[in-house]
Symmetry: C2
Subunit: 143 residues, 2 copies
């Protein structure tokens, strides 16, 4: 627990981010949960008992953490942006029904038996987004 807290403080410092209670709370909360919460859900979670962080601060902390590469945004739904403290490459499983999102380890994908991602998941399809540079941008950027 204390160990965990020290780690967070250390990680933030290593990115030259000031360690404020709010920022700490946002990051700690995200690290502690396996779902992929929206900004709003994080605000809720942090202020459940005692008000600790304003909405604006949570949004700004999320941006800061994202820019530092400590968290990533996940866009699987329209309208909302979800966050994930797992920055290692990995894929996502999304339930069409409840919208629940589950991580799929990176290695599992290529050559994977999609019908057996894990017992209990019924896979109906998948979509791949490849990202990189297109020719036009590539040539306009200094080579």
């Amino acid at each position: 627990m204390q160990q965990q807290a020290d780690n967070i403080v250390h990680t933030l410092k290593s990115k030259s981010l000031r360690v404020t209670p709010q920022r700490f709370a946002v990051y700690a909360n995200l690290l502690a949960r396996a779902d992929h919460p929206t900004a709003e859900q994080i605000v809720q979670a942090l202020n459940q008992n005692v008000p600790t962080s304003s909405q604006a601060t949570v949004y700004s902390s999320l941006q800061t953490l994202r820019d530092a590469g400590l968290i990533r945004e996940v866009l699987l739904e329209e309208g909302v942006c979800r966050y994930d403290a797992n920055v290692a490459p990995h894929h996502h499983f999304r339930c069409k029904c409840c919208g629940e999102i589950e991580d799929i380890a990176w290695e599992q994908f290529f050559g994977l038996d999609l019908q057996n991602l894990r017992p209990g998941l019924r896979v109906e399809g998948y979509e791949v987004t490849v990202y990189g540079m297109c020719d036009r941008c590539d040539s306009s950027t200094a080579t």
Copy 2:
């Protein structure tokens, strides 16, 4: 051209959608373009010369067409929803620089040489979203 128009009318009717000039225009526009426009871009395109469809109508037409399975939404960016008249399964390439989106044929993906999607594209990474039903939802739905 006329052939094309008839096809659109026919397709709309086959989904029991009323054929209104606005709805026709939205669908025709989406079928005619290869990019993945936002609702706003479609509004622009349709009203470029003569005002033909209000913003609200375009949004509602897009919803209707989506519900009918004639178009699909593509979420590759935060904040905006893009639309695609290509409802066949396929993947996307997104340029990190200009944001341009290009379709990748479905068959190409598994066992694909990502470095040679097509000459000119520099691939930096990819993400997969698998969708389906999770155990919880699966059991709550009548089996």
